[in-house]
């Protein structure tokens, strides 16, 4: 893709945990870029390494147990691999905003919402108390909280889950970061509220021109909100494409399995869904194999003995699957629709 330099660029990021000898490989050569102003979704099941990817970038993994290797972790002009802990703290407050699944755990119960937003700005931007308060009000308005003046004085427990998540977004955006990392921001919320929060994130991205990494396990959310998707399985990115390409032309055995197993699509009501056999791996895939081969309907003999290389299918679509042509042919234009359409 021909773009200006990306906001975030990651090459061959590997992370392992534990003592030497019994190390758990959590990430295995993960690479991706987030272009300016784009929403990149990172999808995958529990334990596949989505959060570890972001924690590694942010320098938030416990140093004693985590070993991080990378060719590149670049935020704009800044090499995050070489950043000091102090520099990283500044980056986290000013240049990268973060929101997590459960807003209650990230807010302090004993302070008002207004105080907590203002604190972030006082700490990172050195604003005076008055200026910070005024900015907090603007931010609550920005995240479409009704009656923001009154909410400044509310405590987190007085707000609904959706309102708390809006406050978290306000805090994340307080310093107008160039990158927002949202780790399952709507998983704990109801669908009607989820729809509103996703819309808010998409609107703010446009208004503020920031980049977003959206971590989720919900392909529906991906389809609605993201520009590009990276599909992760067992510590690796197995396929990456613009959203429309991924759903029109899924090319990895895992992506295909996921799309086919969803209710709706081609499966008639109350008939068998195309299930993916086996279990989600708890341990790292063997280095010389496709991580998904044991469960894959398209596996070839070579998939268990060689790691499939990343291949470019089109300019913006890459995939690491030895049988990607057969996968794409079998799945081409599989309807990905709501089950009841």
């Amino acid at each position: 893709m021909i773009t200006a330099s990306p906001t975030l660029s990651v090459r061959d990021l590997s992370v392992s945990f534990g003592a030497t000898g019994a190390r758990l490989q959590a990430l295995d050569r993960v690479s991706f870029d987030v272009a300016r102003g784009e929403i990149l979704a990172l999808v995958g099941e529990s334990g596949c390494g989505k959060s570890v990817t972001m924690m590694a970038i942010l320098g938030l993994l416990p140093e004693r147990v985590a070993r991080i290797e990378a060719q590149r972790i670049q935020l704009g002009e800044l090499d995050l691999r070489k950043a000091t802990p102090k520099a990283l703290r500044t980056v986290r407050g000013r240049r990268i905003g973060m929101i997590f699944q459960d807003p209650m755990t990230s807010l302090t119960p004993v302070h008002t919402v207004g105080f907590q937003i203002a604190e972030v700005m006082r700490a990172h931007q050195g604003l005076s108390r008055r200026a910070a308060q005024a900015r907090a009000l603007e931010l609550l308005d920005l995240v479409r909280i009704p009656d923001p003046r009154r909410r400044l004085d509310a405590y987190p427990h007085e707000l609904s889950g959706g309102m708390r998540q809006r406050v978290m977004i306000a805090i994340a955006l307080a310093c107008a970061p160039e990158l927002l990392i949202a780790d399952e921001p709507t998983t704990a919320l109801d669908v009607t509220v989820q729809a509103q929060i996703m819309e808010l994130i998409a609107d703010l991205r446009r208004e503020m021109g920031m980049s977003v990494v959206l971590i989720t396990h919900d392909l529906g959310v991906v389809a609605t909100t993201a520009d590009r998707v990276a599909v992760m399985y067992a510590g690796r990115i197995v396929e990456e494409a613009p959203v429309a390409d991924l759903f029109r032309n899924p090319s990895h055995g895992y992506t295909a399995g996921l799309i086919r197993s969803l209710p709706g699509g081609e499966t008639e009501r109350q008939t068998r869904l195309a299930e993916i056999p086996g279990n989600v791996p708890r341990f790292a895939a063997p280095p010389n194999a496709c991580a998904f081969t044991e469960r894959c309907a398209f596996a070839l003999p070579g998939c268990a003995t060689t790691r499939p290389p990343d291949e470019q299918i089109s300019q913006a679509h890459r995939c690491a699957c030895f049988n990607r042509e057969a996968v794409a042919a079998a799945l081409r234009d599989t309807p990905f629709v709501r089950a009841w359409v």
Binding site: V191, T192, G220, V221, F247, G264, R272, N279, R338
Partner: protein, 334 residues
């Protein structure tokens, strides 16, 4: 109801009221009507889906239907006999006939029991089988739910979420129930495991001729598995009817908002604004009249604030909305 066939279970005007925020001195300060005069039938052999947002009362209703809890008002019958106030022996028999599957596959199993012991428990409690028979039956059940026999001697923490859920299902079907109440049975599972468990439930239901209540907040899943769907909002049923009809032609404004909020497929729906407005009001102090009126685009303050909408039959569905006729006409472009 089809003439001549009585429903297997019947929920009649059931309310469940919980005291909340009790203080030491003053006693309960508030009451939550988790269910507010709910009526519905579970027909023989059907799967009834129960949907609605967090806190609308789905689990409360599920627990009442398996007699884990009793209604504050109204009654529930099974085969025309009341479910609550049963003498111990009767209750025991009912418990065998109505079994539950829970959301959290780990928490619903005893962590100190192997899969084998977990499955054996209801067999020993309910069937009066001898030891050898029980052993043989466990292997049979394991095969039925797709649990490899070598996993039978493992403890829950040594099993995956999907495997634990299979153990939970084996337990639920072990004593030959007539009804299974499944409360979010796939919500805690990984995406790639959900289809496995849904297939298993469909198969078991068909093979054993069970009736099932399937609680879920995932509308795609309910649309796939249920024959009929009940949509709940703040303790009340707002719409109930055949699955295909509810999803193709939702009539209640809340049902429409809910279906509309589900992320859109590509590419047509992208960029369209959601219709969803506002959030659930507090269940302690719901709006008077129609509970949905604070978020309803069609609400008429004087009408909808004054009357609790009754369920009205339209074709095979029932809808509780006071302005249903106007809304239907409006939609038809009249």
């Amino acid at each position: 109801m089809k003439p001549g066939i009585s429903p297997l279970m019947r929920v009649e005007n059931v309310s469940r009221i919980f005291p909340v925020g009790s203080t030491l001195l003053g006693g309960p300060r508030h009451r939550v009507r988790a269910l507010d005069r709910v009526s519905l039938d579970l027909r023989r052999g059907e799967t009834l889906g129960l949907v609605g947002e967090s806190g609308c009362g789905k689990s409360t209703l599920a627990r009442l239907m398996v007699a884990l809890d009793a209604p504050s008002e109204g009654r529930i019958t099974f085969d025309n006999a009341p479910l609550s106030g049963l003498p111990a022996g009767e209750l025991h028999r009912r418990r065998r006939q109505i079994q539950m599957i829970f959301q959290d596959p780990y928490a619903s199993l005893n962590p100190r029991m192997t899969a084998r012991a977990s499955i054996a428990e209801p067999l020993a409690n309910f069937t009066g089988m001898g030891r050898a028979d029980i052993e043989a039956r466990i292997e049979e059940l394991a095969a039925q739910v797709g649990l490899p026999p070598h996993l039978l001697d493992r403890f829950p923490h040594e099993l995956s979420g999907g495997q634990c859920q299979r153990v939970g299902i084996a337990r639920a079907i072990s004593a030959g129930p007539d009804v299974i109440i499944a409360d979010e049975p796939v919500s805690a599972l990984d995406v790639s495991i959900q289809a496995q468990i849904l297939n298993l439930l469909l198969e078991i239901k068909r093979r054993m001729g069970l009736s099932m209540v399937f609680v879920s907040h995932d509308l795609s899943v309910v649309s796939h598995i249920a024959d009929r769907v009940a949509v709940m909002y703040l303790g009340r049923i707002v719409e109930i009817g055949p699955t295909a009809e509810i999803f193709a032609q939702p009539r209640h404004p809340y049902t429409r908002m809910l279906l509309d909020a589900v992320p859109h497929p590509l590419p047509a729906g992208r960029g369209r604004k959601t219709q969803a407005q506002g959030e659930l009001p507090s269940p302690i102090d719901p709006p008077a009249g129609c509970h949905f009126r604070s978020r309803c685009p069609h609400a008429d303050a004087s009408l909808c604030g004054a009357t609790v909408p009754p369920l009205v039959t339209v074709g095979e569905a029932e809808i509780a909305c006071l302005r249903l006729d106007e809304i239907t006409l409006e939609r038809a472009g009249v």
